[in-house]
């Protein structure tokens, strides 16, 4: 069995290729209504101490498509944690009822703590502002699937990079592709933590931090839009100002390359004008769908079923 805890453990071309290939096969099989029932007799526990829609439902849908059963803690208020049970104790108990645990938790490092005491594989479905490796993998998978390649692309992140955990998980994966050029767009207060910048620098990956997207819009291949969390701003005026500069609409599109791609961490709130959705470059709904197949591949990977 393999715990899935961070992006770093997938910083290996062979593993990535294996998971992406599996995801493609599962997608094709599912299109024919014939996803293999490889989880038959297995139970997947989705344990969410923090709210989620896409992540939990895509794991549960994936488990069911693969013939597995699902047990779920969807609302932390209804779980034993509200009675003061420790994460470690909860994991030991849930591991007795299930064959694999998909965990989301508000604290950084929670997934690793859970893995330390778990007798079944733990999949990190987001721990605090630390990591969200399954999303990072399908982000990368979506880029590969949509643009046919990853290396050599120019990728801009326009989001709250301090807290956006899938971006943190993506950093070690990006280090595999030596000709990438990465741009991090946003105010210095929300900049990518230094440890991730050091990781990129050590791998020799070109990256730049910019306050505004405008100057590079005509150059980039991927625009990755994230959420800006209002609660993280002390100054309302500052938030309102930033909100405008992070807005993607048809004017943004008009300045982008025809064969570029817009992704979004989802859920979308105000960041992308719904009028953009009809453009072929708007890849975020396809990206969300890709999440299902990559997560199916990851369930199988964690359980050594390949």
């Amino acid at each position: 069995m393999v715990h899935i805890l961070n992006g770093e453990q997938f910083a290996d071309e062979n593993i990535l290729e294996k998971i992406f290939k599996r995801a493609r096969e599962l997608e094709e099989a599912d299109a024919e209504g014939q996803a293999p029932k490889l989880l038959s007799g297995k139970i997947v526990a989705t344990v969410f101490y923090e709210t989620s829609t896409r992540t939990r439902l895509s794991f549960e849908s994936g488990a069911l498509k693969l013939g597995g059963g699902v047990i779920s803690v969807a609302d932390p208020k209804t779980s034993s944690a509200s009675k003061g049970e420790s994460l470690e104790d909860a994991i030991k108990v849930i591991g007795g009822y299930s064959d694999i645990i998909v965990l989301r938790h508000p604290e950084n490092g929670a997934a690793a703590r859970a893995a330390d005491v778990s007798r079944v594989p733990v999949i990190n479905a987001g721990d605090g502002s630390n990591e969200h490796p399954t999303q990072a993998l399908y982000d990368l998978y979506s880029i590969q699937k949509e643009l046919g390649k990853i290396d050599g692309l120019k990728i801009a992140f326009m989001s709250d990079l301090r807290y956006q955990r899938n971006a943190h998980s993506l950093i070690p994966l990006f280090c595999l592709f030596k000709n990438l050029e990465i741009y991090f767009i946003g105010p210095t207060e929300l900049a990518l933590p230094q440890v991730y910048k050091d990781r990129l620098a050590a791998a020799g990956i070109k990256f730049k931090e910019l306050p505004q997207i405008d100057s590079i819009l005509p150059e980039i291949d991927v625009l990755y839009v994230g959420r800006v969390f209002k609660e993280r701003f002390q100054d309302e005026a500052e938030y309102e100002k930033l909100k405008k500069s992070f807005f993607v609409d048809q004017n943004t599109l008009a300045r982008m390359k025809k064969d570029s791609l817009i992704l979004h961490v989802m859920p979308r709130v105000f960041e992308i004008d719904p009028k953009v959705d009809a453009d072929p470059r708007a890849g975020y709904f396809r990206q969300a769908k890709n999440g299902l197949y990559v997560r199916m591949a990851l369930l199988l990977y964690a359980l050594d079923l390949y």
Binding site: K145, E146, G148, K149, K258, D259, P280
Partner: protein, 410 residues
């Protein structure tokens, strides 16, 4: 004598030079170091050996029944507008050029064309080679016109007579097309496997009958990979790609544009398109050839296949340079030099390089003047473009035909 100075692009270098063209012979007489004084002085513009389009349907023939949508005059004007200095023209006419007499008669019509034209001769169920050298075109399955075969064995029987000739193939397997003819959408009626299977067969025929083969408008990644593999094994084959298979894909089709974007072979998947762009850049694909098919908008509404392209050939190449990182040398290779290597087999002069002794036809592009494609800038008689509304990052600012300035938009 016409003298021009600026940055010239041969397929291996980019160099500021002086070019002199003799307007009587139409040939380049000298390429030398720049002096700062010339009839025409360019700054940052790129001077290419004239672009050559190896796949044009100009529609005019001796029946003149299709002159309402294009003729050799308007096709030539559209070519000049798009920076194309010569083209090779397809034979699927109401009266197709399939023997010496019909070929010569059609050739007469090309004399009024302002750019050089080489005609393909058609291969049909009962044809045999002409008595002189010409390129040939064979259609496997039904497309536009009557030059097609109902089965591959029938095609092979005829093609056996063309041993050693230059044969270009439209690859769609008629039997696979027949099987899918009742599918609900054009792209489903002409599935990838029709092209892939026909490419297999074409490669086999090319080897068996020692042909100089050319595969037209490849649209599938799998078909493309088969041809590239064959080339590496020494098969005498080259291949064309169209602007529409590089720019559009089936994922952008909707009920509103489906009829406009109907062509054979049809649009394919986006990811395949992006891979094909890489193959063109890397030198695996030989020619950017348009398959210019000037049908009227009314005909398009009725469901005829093909798109007009000549007017936008030059601007389109600026998109490849600007958005897909093609170098000017890459463009010279697939738009000038490689097509010239094909065309030069059938004419007296030489295209493809800016060097002494070569034909003095040049295409000059500016990467500093974007252009929005609208109906009123087009010269094609059919009067529309699939790129209407698109802003290309650069444009053709001058086209020179054998020493004569035919377009000047500096």
């Amino acid at each position: 004598m016409l003298s021009i100075e600026g940055t010239i692009v041969n397929s291996a270098e980019l160099k500021r030079s002086r070019i002199e063209i003799d307007q009587v012979t139409g040939l380049i007489t000298k390429v030398s170091e720049p002096t700062g004084v010339a009839d025409i002085l360019f700054k940052n513009e790129l001077i290419f050996p004239g672009f050559i389009d190896l796949h044009v349907h100009a529609r005019e023939d001796t029946s003149h029944t299709q002159d309402y949508k294009e003729d050799f005059t308007t096709a030539g004007e559209a070519a000049i507008n798009g920076g194309v200095v010569a083209f090779a023209e397809m034979p699927n006419n109401p009266i197709p050029p399939i023997d010496d007499a019909s070929y010569e008669k059609k050739k007469e019509l090309t004399k009024k064309c302002p750019v050089e034209v080489v005609l393909y001769a058609g291969i049909g169920p009962n044809t045999k080679p002409l008595s002189f050298r010409a390129p040939y075109k064979v259609f496997f399955g039904r497309s536009v016109g009557d030059l097609f075969f109902n089965s591959l064995p029938e095609l092979e029987t005829v093609l056996a007579k063309y041993r050693g000739q230059y044969v270009s193939f439209h690859c769609e397997d008629p039997e696979i097309l027949e099987k899918h003819k009742n599918e609900p959408a054009h792209e489903l009626q002409r599935p990838p496997e029709a092209e892939i299977s026909a490419i297999d067969f074409a490669l086999e025929l090319i080897q068996k009958y020692n042909l100089s083969g050319k595969i037209c408008h490849v649209s599938t990644l799998e078909g493309l990979e088969k041809i590239i593999k064959a080339k590496k094994l020494g098969v005498n084959v080259t291949l064309e790609i169209t602007p529409h298979h590089l720019y559009f894909d089936m994922e952008m089709l909707n009920e509103g544009n489906r009829k406009i974007f109907q062509m054979n072979p049809p649009l394919r998947r986006r990811v395949d398109r992006l891979k094909i762009i890489e193959f063109l850049k890397n030198g695996e694909i030989d020619y950017l050839a348009t398959d210019h098919a000037p049908h009227t908008k009314e005909e398009k509404e009725k469901g005829i296949s093909g798109l007009p392209h000549l007017d936008t050939y030059g601007p389109f190449t600026t998109w490849l340079m600007h958005e897909h990182n093609f170098t000017a040398e890459d463009i010279a290779r697939v738009c000038s030099q490689n097509p010239a290597n094909f065309l030069n087999n059938f004419i007296s002069g030489k295209y493809g390089k800016i060097e002494e002794g070569y034909i003095g036809s040049l295409t000059i592009l500016s990467m500093e003047k974007p252009i929005k494609i609208t109906k009123n800038i087009l010269k094609t008689k059919c009067g529309w473009s699939p790129f209407e509304g698109v802003v290309f990052p650069g444009r053709g600012v001058m086209t020179i035909i054998k020493g004569e300035v035919k377009k000047d938009e500096r």
